[in-house]
Structure formats: structure tokens, C-alpha cells
């Protein structure tokens, strides 16, 4: 509460915060509040179509569901490592904070790669944003699916870059550039992610601008705020997974 003002050495100069915490955290919570509504709109758009359209495609067979379950486990485990990282940051243990954040990034990256493979399989089977091979009379399946999961994948990607900046600061920039180059050169040009990986380049430019224009040492508060964002990404997947995958399971 008022110890926020005490920390700055100007006790009494400010009123205690209404929300009893520091402003960065309030800012992140308010952003997450607005992002909840963004994802809410996308999820409702998908589920409205899912419920109201007879003959909605059910393309997710055993492989897809297994894959999606592993992805869910990855995100849940990444939340655990993130929360352990926040604990380490509170203790002031810098090396373990970094290690736990790196573990979180590893699980996040695994999620993105698995999801990318899933998308690639669906696209190979003939799914586009406007058509799908399973139910020609339900063209909106592709559009709603790719928008919803693509938006989520973008959030996970931003989250991994955000955590990289917090954990490694400027050292993360060459790593990110390297990953972008390798991914861009190794993914065949007929794959949508050949162009999708340029998100990493944009992320790298933004991260560089932030790191060079406002260089600072990230403290335990920054780790905690980054953690809030990361848990939110996990939280959204807890709704996408049942609504998109489990409601469209192909049982043979």
C-alpha cells in the first residue's frame, strides 16, 4: 500500500494506490481485462457458429487431439515454471529467475512449434480461411479457426519475446535474430510460416527499440508483470482447447 510511496523516499507525497499495488501491475491487469474481451469476442464468434450450424466439421482425429493435449500440458507446465520464476525473483535469486524464465520460454516455444505443425497439417489437407474439405457448406470454419488460434499463437509469440527481453535483455536480440533467420531459411516457401516467422523480426525490432531507448535492469516487479501476461495466454488456451478441439473431435 503506502510502502510504494515509502520506497521512493517520499512518504506522504502520494496517496496509497486504490488497488493496493504498483502501477505497472495495475496497467497489465487492465490490459488483460481488455484482452479478455478481445478473445471473448473471437471465442463467441467461433462457438456461435459451432452451435448454430448443422454439419460443423469435426476434423480433429486422434493425432490432433493428442497433439493439442501435449500443447495444453506444455502451457500448463510453462505457467508452473513462470510462477517459480516469480518466486525466485522475489527471493532476489537472479540466476534461478533466469533459469525458470528460460524454461517457460522453452515450453512456450514448444507450444508454438507444435501448433505450427498442426496448422501445416490442416492446410495440407486443404483447409483455407475460406474453404475446408470436410464440410463445403460450412466455409466459416476455416476463417474463425485461423483467426482465433492465430491470434492466440501471436500472443504466445509476443509472450516468449517479452520473457526473453526480461530474462536476457540485450543478449536476447542476437538469439532472436538467429532464430528468425534459421526458421525463415529452413521452412519451405510453400508453408504459411515461411512468412509467419517475420513476426519474430518485427518483435526483434520492437524489443531492440525498447532495450536501446529505455535501457534498465528488470526487477522482480517486471518479472511478476510478465508472469501475469504469460498466465493470461495460458488461461485463454484453457477455453480454446475445449471449444475448438474437444467439441470437434472425430471419433471413429
Amino acid at each position: 500500500m503506502s510502502d510504494v510511496a515509502v520506497q521512493h523516499g517520499i512518504a506522504g507525497a502520494y496517496e496509497p494506490s486504490l488497488f493496493g499495488t504498483y502501477s505497472k501491475k495495475i496497467g497489465m491487469w487492465l490490459f488483460l481485462l481488455s484482452d479478455t474481451l478481445t478473445f471473448g469476442a473471437l471465442l463467441f464468434a467461433y462457438s456461435y457458429g459451432r452451435i448454430s450450424t448443422p454439419g460443423w466439421p469435426t476434423p480433429f482425429g486422434k493425432e490432433s487431439i493428442t497433439n493439442a493435449t501435449i500443447m495444453t500440458a506444455c502451457l500448463l507446465s510453462s505457467s508452473l515454471t513462470m510462477v517459480l520464476g516469480v518466486l525466485a525473483a522475489r527471493r532476489g535469486d537472479r540466476s534461478w529467475t533466469r533459469n525458470w524464465i528460460l524454461a517457460t520460454m522453452f515450453f512456450g516455444a514448444a507450444f508454438i512449434v507444435l501448433h505450427g505443425m498442426e496448422w501445416t497439417n490442416l492446410i495440407h489437407e486443404g483447409m483455407t480461411p475460406f474453404t475446408n474439405p470436410w464440410a463445403p457448406n460450412v466455409p466459416q470454419f476455416g476463417g474463425t479457426f485461423f483467426t482465433l488460434t492465430g491470434m492466440h499463437m501471436l500472443h504466445v509469440t509476443i509472450g516468449v519475446i517479452y520473457l526473453g527481453v526480461i530474462a536476457l535483455r540485450k543478449k536476447f536480440l542476437p538469439i532472436l535474430l538467429g532464430i528468425w533467420l534459421i526458421a525463415w531459411l529452413t521452412i519451405p516457401s510453400n508453408n504459411v510460416f515461411h512468412y509467419g516467422v517475420h513476426t519474430l523480426l518485427v518483435g526483434c525490432i520492437v524489443a531492440a527499440a525498447i532495450l536501446f531507448l529505455k535501457p534498465k535492469d528488470y526487477d522482480s516487479h517486471d518479472v511478476e508483470v510478465a508472469g501475469l501476461y504469460w498466465h493470461f495466454v495460458d488461461l485463454v488456451w484453457m477455453f480454446i482447447f475445449p471449444l475448438v478441439y474437444l467439441m470437434s473431435t472425430k471419433v471413429v
Binding site: L37, H231, V251
Partner: protein, 103 residues
């Protein structure tokens, strides 16, 4: 900061319990979907209830909302209440359209 730190440092084991509970709930969801235990509509209801429980665990423990100031909790409830209200408008309406026989 002090009260926040002291309420959490003993909670390392608690995070592992929450993580385990989340994994088990996910396994239950997958099993329900794969066995097709319920009709699609009942299935949707069950999955949504399980997902709301999972999200409550994530928000309450991982995001520490359980330990935040009441003002913060209530402000954030706006988003949850809005989404739940929209859900109770959209889902029954979508279901109604199926029964109207609109193709």
C-alpha cells in the same frame, strides 16, 4: 510488498498441487470428449464448467488474484461478468437457431 512476499514464500508446494489439478482436469476433459459420454450440448456445458474451474485456479493462484486488494478483484470481475453474460445470451440463441431449422 512485505505482506505479499510473506504470504507466498511458503506456497511453492501449493503451485505444484494447482498444476497437478489443472493437468487432471485437462485429462478429464479429453477423456469426456473421446468417449463421447454426453450429447454435444451437455458436453459443451460440462466442458465450460471445467474450463471455468481451471481458469479460476490459474487466476487465483498463478496470477495471485486471491491475494490482491478487493478493489482490484472487483474491477477485474467486470470482464468475467461481461463474458459470462454474453455466453448466456449467445449460446442459447445459437441453440435456438438450430431448432428453428435455419440452414
Amino acid at each position: 510488498m512485505h505482506n505479499v512476499a510473506t504470504t507466498h514464500d511458503e506456497g511453492k508446494g501449493q503451485y505444484f498441487w494447482v498444476w497437478g489439478a489443472l493437468l487432471i482436469l485437462t485429462a478429464v476433459e479429453v477423456m469426456l470428449a473421446y468417449r463421447q459420454v454426453f450429447q454435444p450440448l451437455r458436453m459443451l456445458e460440462v466442458l465450460m464448467v471445467l474450463s471455468v474451474i481451471k481458469s479460476a485456479l490459474i487466476i487465483g493462484y498463478f496470477m495471485h488474484l486471491k491475494y490482491e486488494n478487493p478493489a482490484m478483484k472487483w474491477v477485474l470481475m467486470i470482464a468475467v461478468v461481461t463474458c459470462l453474460c454474453l455466453m448466456f445470451i449467445f449460446f442459447p440463441d445459437a441453440f435456438r437457431i438450430v431448432h428453428l431449422g435455419v440452414r
